[in-house]
């Protein structure tokens, strides 16, 4: 029996060397045949068992060298006893460097790397524990978000219910008012048509249309001007001083003169120009203003901006009817109708008889207008109807909004299956990088705000969660990325956009902003909304980490 005892350790030792770098699930395949041969795992070739792990590549698939690095693209399995086993690529086997991911040092020549799995394991454990702690705290906060979502749901349910009731009442009111208005209008329609033939009214409508068109064109021009000034601002701050292109230089100088800006080369040069930079902010709004004296009755730009809409929204029909009152009042009706006041009482009855006959006759002939049911009454009833309808519409809208919000709350594409993001709707996160403050209002807009004056740029509006086709909506990785796009266009470049990368954290914060490519920003931040609660299955990293991710 002694020979057996002696043989056993030797054989074990041999087998250990031959299976260096072999993963546990393949270890059963690394045994020699009876004739001491071995077949490559892809079956392509049978080689001598001596050729396995002999630091010389024989198999096309590289499977004969799991432990030496002699064949490219082979995974090398480090047992890492005391820690977690992991794979490293063969390019790291025997390269003289100690890998944290191969803490047992089995990938290097003996004596190169010690076994540090104890320390690595402990550090890893500590790190995992810390992460768990954050996650636990975060998950608690997250549960309050979910509670908020539920409360919000309740509130919205209430809104929907109460607005539904109000809508029912208001609908009845609308139909009542519509009856009245329609009755009144049917009487007055013919008269109104006649009044609308008035040259004054026609002219008023024409003026109104002209003014509306003018306003539309004016707005277009204002927008164009704004765009142009943005372009010129970008040119001014961004032009390449290279090559002293005179056309560019003149454009910049011309713009600075018109806009009352200091020359860009002087900005920030010294303390004096810092003040100038301050001035620049004030003057930038003056760009569109004009300094001309206004006639008394002329509107200022501000008034035009504010009050023109109201003016144009006037109800011209009502005005026409009101106008009638003015035209008719001082000699209320014609002399004919009021003559009676000048007549002696004795002949009054005869006169009235005559008058009635005459007016009837005249009215019939169309020479004068008879009195009609009051057009103001018609207008008023119409107004009442309109008001009621508006009220109804806003109630409906309120209900619709509430219904939509309700739908979004528990939508995986919206505020998440559990509604955990609802609470963060409109929450703005900020961070300072260099001369700018970066801000992202979740589900809203991302911005770049200069600290020293100048234009704020939109970096884009919320577009979607992680759009990658590899990611399943609703998964954790889906919510780890938000896309904000269609921000302000870069001068001669693309529209700015933001990728917001989020991870679990106990606070809602923006940690970093980088512009990896021109106008493409990457924000990173944390939020408790991503701290999903721990449920036994997580927390243990059983995944193979192949590809160099350190365990630390």
């Amino acid at each position: 029996m002694l020979w057996l005892l002696l043989l056993l350790p030797l054989r074990t030792l041999g087998a250990f060397e031959k299976t260096l770098g072999v993963s546990p699930d393949l270890i059963s395949k690394y045994v020699p045949s009876k004739s001491n041969t071995w077949t490559c795992l892809d079956g392509s070739k049978t080689i001598s068992w001596d050729d396995v792990n002999d630091d010389s590549c024989d198999c096309a698939d590289g499977s004969d060298e799991p432990g030496t690095g002699a064949c490219p693209n082979q995974p090398f399995y480090c047992k890492n006893e005391g820690h977690i086993g992991s794979f490293i690529p063969s390019s790291r086997v025997r390269d003289g460097l100690c890998e944290t991911s191969c803490c047992d040092g089995s990938d290097e020549r003996p004596g190169v790397c010690g076994n540090v799995c104890q320390e690595v394991g402990q550090a890893y454990k500590k790190k995992v524990e810390e992460e768990m702690k954050i996650r636990k705290t975060g998950a608690k906060i997250r549960s309050t978000y979910i509670a908020y979502a539920h409360k919000e749901k309740k509130r919205l349910d209430g809104v929907i219910e109460s607005s539904a009731a109000e809508i029912a009442i208001q609908e009845k009111e609308v139909s009542r008012l519509r009856d009245i208005a329609e009755r009144a209008e049917s009487l007055s329609a013919a008269a109104l048509e006649l009044k609308q033939q008035s040259p004054l009214y026609i002219s008023l409508i024409t003026h109104s249309n002209a003014l509306k068109s003018l306003q539309r064109e004016h707005k277009k021009h204002l927008e164009r001007e704004k765009e142009l000034s943005n372009i010129l601002d970008a040119l001014r701050t961004g032009y390449n001083p290279n090559y002293q292109d005179m056309a560019v230089l003149e454009a910049v100088r011309g713009w600075e003169e018109i806009a009352g800006l200091p020359h860009i080369n002087d900005v920030g040069k010294d303390s004096v120009s810092d003040e100038e930079a301050g001035v620049q902010e004030d003057t930038s709004s003056a760009v569109v203003e004009t300094n001309e004296e206004l006639d008394d009755e002329m509107w200022s730009a501000e008034e035009l901006d504010k009050d023109l809409d109201d003016l144009l929204n006037s109800d011209y029909v009502s005005l026409l009817l009101e106008h009638d009152e003015y035209v008719q009042s001082p000699p209320e009706g014609s002399v004919l109708f009021n003559l009676a006041s000048y007549l002696p009482d004795s002949i009054l009855p005869q006169y009235e008889e005559f008058r009635d006959a005459l007016t009837t006759w005249l009215v019939t002939l169309g020479v004068i207008k008879g009195e009609t049911p009051s057009s103001t009454d018609t207008s008023r009833s119409r107004q009442a109807l309109t008001d009621a309808e508006n009220n109804l519409n806003s109630l409906k809208k309120e209900k619709q909004t509430a219904e939509n919000d309700l739908k979004e709350i528990f939508n995986i594409h919206g505020y998440g299956y559990e509604g955990e993001w609802k609470k963060l709707d409109g929450t703005c996160l900020r961070t300072d990088v260099g001369d700018y403050t970066y801000e992202v209002c979740l589900f809203g807009e991302a911005k770049q705000i200069p600290k020293k004056g100048g234009s704020t740029f939109s970096l884009g509006k919320f577009a979607s969660w992680n759009p990658s086709t590899d990611v399943k909506p609703g998964d954790e990785s889906y919510y780890q990325k938000q896309i904000y796009n269609r921000g302000t266009r870069c001068w001669n470049g693309p529209e700015r956009n933001v990728v917001l990368l989020l991870s679990c954290g106990t606070e809602n914060v923006l940690n970093s902003v980088v512009e990896l490519e021109k106008c493409e920003y990457q924000f990173t931040g944390t939020t408790p909304a991503l701290c999903r609660p721990l449920d036994g299955s997580e927390g243990k990293d059983g995944k193979k980490s192949y590809g160099g991710k350190d365990e630390l």
């Binding site: 010389s56 390269d95 870069c490 990896l516 160099g548």
Partner: protein, 972 residues
């Protein structure tokens, strides 16, 4: 982030690739340059006068003095136009047969700039001994050379210098009578001349007549003598006209190469004569040309005034040591002759005639003059990943991590200008790079390095210590007044430039790169010895200067005008930087400094790249030609930005560009700030895997590259060699510049530089077998030359092994090259048609200068046929046999094969030997010492056959032989 807006102007051009265009109005044509216009007008008058034209310059025979001891002859020269002006001519014959021809004005009003050669030359050349001058009545002669077949002839009237060999003119100076050295004069006021001219008295007549007497040669007017305007700039020209015109004719050579840097063919197209290729002369005036053209004689970032004239019979060359702006007209009066006309703005005549007669001789002769490429740090032959800009230290870490995750090798990460706060180089922007030392250490943890940019423009603010110290030291370039500091505009805004001609700047500049605190001011404590340097913008590029550079009337050390030293200026900057990087550590380490601007001699210290190329196919193609042209002009460590600096190359173009890049001596990917990121790990399949394989192929071949660098450092032989260098007698190959060989390895590459190509034609110049590197297919060349067609799908590069070569490679992929140090070698033995092969391998620590103490391994591998049916493959030591030729600049008295470095790698073995083209399956493969080896044989075409097809392949598994020891294997 400021850069978002800053470089918008460039984006306009990026958005519209068809709008790519050089701003040619920013740069002068010959007709806008006074002295070039005068020079060309002179040539035109000579052309018109034909045989009646006679150079006004002549040698005074009575003045000749010869000195046999130092091989020098001197003579007085005068011009019939200005009999009162004195010139001196000197001929010096060097010990290697090079003849130096110097001419200067003697006792002039001022002194012509005469220091160009002192910057270019590696040392004062050794003169020949025992030259016998024959002073004749009409000419002075001397015969010399190993076989006494070279002759230098100085004809007195008119002045003419001929270099002759075998009784034939090789190089002729002033053969066309275009020599003209404008002497210094005082300005005569124009009004006076006109007044006198309008005056009818006799004196006035005389003046007019005098003018006319010179007009046949000099022209009628004083064209831009005293002031020159270009665009909005005025060059004050306080010294007046001082240009030098010289015609150099090669009566028996029909092809010329050299005078980099130009984006053009290797074989230089004509600029004058019948239907010239270009209308302007080639120009040498270091310039930052934005979006340069892919075919143009316009000057670019660097200038090396060396030209080779080649024919099937011989090669000769000239090196014109001039530092001022120079224009060169080239014409080919016949297929077998070449005329050139060199017009320089200032400086003495200092021309070296290189007698050849082979390309190898020319390289050796030029290397004796200006030096060779110092052996670079080994890691610098790996892959360099650059971008304008990696925006933060975390960005750098992420890029590194991604390379590792994708298992792609890379050695160097680069930082462009945005790392520096307000473009104050050395000063990190801590908002984005809070931890530069830690970042560098993280990169260095895997054996990698960083290269960080340091540009020459210094921001003029008192809080910038580099500027402030330079200002206090008074070592900044001065404005034309000679007082104060020249101020110009560059990335850093208002800037000044160090005058590296001023010796006071040298030690100071060296001290700035110390990584530890120094007593005397700023030192770069926020860097480590793993940080190397990129010197860009050193033409110098000045945004608001004439032609985007420094005004010619600014003043350098010694009172020299910038016009005198312009082309040398960039070299001094990168030279001093390289010294600084070398000297910052206790034990000096080899510096890596990349320069954009360069001059003759730059090769001794730095690598160069071809500047801001465009992401277009034609720029990819011309990049190869430019690297070849630089290589033959000594600037061997060269490359073009992979992917193109401007633009967003599509994946196909990027893959093809990596195929070009891995076969360039310097291999770097770089991209403009407005481009999309394009690091190889960002590509989709199959592109990503193709590029991974390409990167790994580069690393596999690093032993071949390093061996080629050693050879270059000794002999000056280019690292990438065009056809005419390999086959000087094959006229069909003279114009080939789209395929090349790597060193003496026998690797022939023909990169594909056209869109959607699936095939390539390759020229094989000799009757030899060429094996496809990847599939071992054996192609046959022909002694008359032959084109073969090979498949070249996107994942394929036409790479061949010339029959008769042995290639040492390292086939194990690693993250970076230092991690390959102990990896075993594979030998590919590509048998020639006679069944033999040879190859070399050079190794050293790749970092320090210990190789100069003999710590190196230099091996030769030989396959021979000692018996008819036996092939013997052996390894032997070359260093012991040639200790004097092992290392550049050092003659090792003896070599110890057991030196410290050899011991470090003593366990490194040969893991595999692949023999291509054996006649038949061997009966036995064994070590000469007896042991049988394991092997496999796949039958195929034999090298000795005439047919084409896949070659027979013998694979010897793990022959158990070491790389540092002698061994032999017998195949019977």
């Amino acid at each position: 982030m400021r850069s978002v807006a800053l470089f918008g102007a460039i984006a306009a051009l990026l958005a519209l690739p068809e709008a790519f265009a050089v701003k040619s109005h920013d740069f002068k044509t010959c007709s806008q340059s006074g002295f070039c216009r005068r020079g060309r007008a002179l040539a035109a008058r000579a052309q018109e006068a034909q045989s009646s034209w006679k150079s006004p310059y002549s040698v005074d025979p009575t003045s000749i003095s010869v000195s046999p001891e130092n091989a020098t002859a001197k003579a007085a020269v005068k011009s019939s136009l200005y009999p009162e002006i004195k010139f001196g001519l000197e001929l010096r014959i060097h010990d290697d047969g090079v003849v130096r021809v110097l001419m200067d004005e003697v006792d002039g009003l001022r002194k012509r700039y005469d220091e160009a050669a002192s910057w270019a030359l590696v040392s004062e050349p050794t003169l020949s001994k025992g030259i016998r001058w024959a002073v004749g009545k009409k000419e002075l002669r001397a015969t010399f050379g190993k076989t006494n077949d070279i002759e230098i002839v100085l004809q007195y009237e008119p002045l003419l210098v001929r270099l002759r060999r075998g009784g034939e003119d090789q190089i002729v100076l002033n053969g066309r009578g275009l020599l003209h050295m404008e002497h210094f004069r005082t300005q005569t006021l124009k009004e006076t001349v006109e007044e006198v001219a309008s005056d009818e008295n006799a004196e006035g007549q005389e003046v007019l007549q005098t003018e006319n007497v010179r007009a046949w040669f000099e022209g009628d007017s004083e064209d831009d003598y005293w002031e020159e305007k270009f665009s909005s700039w005025t060059d004050s020209k306080p010294k007046g006209p001082e240009s030098l015109s010289l015609d150099i004719t090669f009566p028996n050579h029909g092809t010329v190469y050299g005078i980099p840097q130009h984006a053009t063919n290797l074989s230089l197209p004509s600029t004058t004569g019948d239907s010239p290729s270009y209308s302007d002369p080639f120009r040498l005036y270091n310039a930052d040309v934005f979006e340069y053209l892919a075919s143009s004689p316009m000057s670019l970032y660097g200038s090396i005034p060396v030209m080779h004239a080649h024919s099937a019979d011989s090669t000769v060359g000239i090196f014109n040591a001039v530092g001022s702006e120079t224009w060169i007209d080239i014409s080919y009066p016949s297929k077998k002759s070449t005329q050139t006309h060199w017009i320089s703005e200032s400086g003495i005549m200092d021309v070296f005639l290189l007698p050849g007669p082979t390309p190898e001789d020319i390289f050796a002769q030029y290397a004796r003059l200006t030096g060779t490429t110092a052996l670079p740090p080994h890691w610098s032959l790996g892959y360099h990943q650059c971008r304008w800009n990696y925006v933060s230290s975390d960005d750098v870490r992420t890029v590194q991590r991604r390379f590792d995750e994708e298992d792609m090798p890379v050695d160097v990460f680069w930082l462009d200008i945005e790392y520096a706060q307000d473009h104050k180089y050395f000063i990190w922007d801590h908002k984005t790079f809070p931890d530069p030392v830690e970042m560098t250490n993280d990169v260095a943890a895997t054996g990698r390095k960083m290269v960080v940019i340091v540009d020459p423009h210094l921001k003029r603010t008192s809080d910038y210590p580099i500027y402030q110290e330079a200002s206090d030291l008074d070592v900044l370039v001065k404005p034309k007044s000679g007082e104060g500091e020249y101020e110009g505009w560059c990335w850093s805004g208002s800037s000044s430039w160090i005058d590296h001609f001023n010796p006071a700047s040298w030690d100071w500049w060296v001290s700035k790169f110390k990584t530890s605190q120094i007593d005397t001011g700023f030192s770069w404590t926020e860097s480590t010895e793993d940080v190397h340097i990129w010197n860009d913008m050193n033409e110098p590029s000045i945004f608001n200067g004439p032609e985007i550079t420094m005004p010619k009337d600014t003043i350098h050390y010694g009172g020299w005008e910038h016009r005198d030293v312009h082309n040398i200026n960039g070299m001094l900057f990168h030279n001093n930087t390289a010294q600084a990087v070398r000297l910052r550590s206790e034990i000096p380490k080899r510096p890596f400094v990349l320069t954009r601007s360069f001059y003759a001699g730059s090769q001794r210290i730095s690598a160069m790249w071809t500047g801001d190329n465009l992401g277009t196919w034609d720029h990819m193609a011309v990049g190869i030609k430019m690297v070849l042209a630089n290589g033959i002009a000594g600037m061997a460590f060269a490359g073009s930005d992979v992917g193109g600096f401007f633009g967003n190359p599509e994946p196909e173009m990027l893959v093809r560009w990596y195929q070009v890049g891995i076969f360039s001596p310097f291999f770097r990917a770089h991209a403009h700030i407005d481009t999309k990121r394009r690091e190889p790990f960002l590509l989709d399949e199959p592109y990503e895997s193709i590029i991974r394989d390409l990167l790994r192929l580069r690393y596999t071949m690093l032993p071949i590259w390093y061996t080629a660098f050693r050879e270059n450092s000794i002999s000056g032989m280019p690292i990438v060699r065009p056809h005419y260098v390999m086959f000087p007698q094959d006229t069909a190959g003279f114009d080939i510049d789209d395929q090349f060989f790597i060193g003496s390895s026998g690797i022939l590459v023909k990169p594909v530089t056209e869109k959607e190509k699936t095939e390539a034609t390759v020229y094989l110049a000799e009757d030899q077998v060429y094996y496809d590197y990847f599939n071992q297919y054996a192609y046959r060349g022909a002694s008359k030359g032959k084109y073969i067609t090979v498949t070249a799908e996107l994942h394929q590069i036409p790479v061949f092994i010339r029959g008769g070569s042995i290639l040492p490679t390292r086939e194990r992929p690693r993250r970076s090259s230092p991690l390959m140090k102990l990896d075993p070698f594979t030998l590919r033995v590509a048998l020639s048609k006679t069944g033999t092969a040879r190859g070399e391998l050079y190794l050293d620590d790749g970092i320090t200068y210990s190789h100069q103490q003999g710590e190196l391994v230099w091996r030769e591998f030989v396959a021979e046929k000692p018996k008819k049916k036996t092939v013997r493959i052996s390894s032997r030591d070359l260093a012991s046999q040639n200790p004097g030729k092992a290392v550049d600049g050092v003659v090792l008295a003896e070599y110890d094969p057991k030196n410290a470095f050899a011991k470090e790698i003593e366990e490194v073995r040969v893991e595999k030997i692949v023999v291509l083209g054996l006649n038949s399956k061997p009966s036995a493969v064994k070590l000469e010492s007896g042991a049988d080896l394991k092997w496999e044989f796949v039958p195929g075409v034999a090298a000795s056959e005439k047919k084409e097809g896949t070659a027979s392949v013998l694979t010897i598994k793990d022959p158990k032989v070491l790389i540092t020891t002698d061994w032999a294997i017998l195949i019977s």
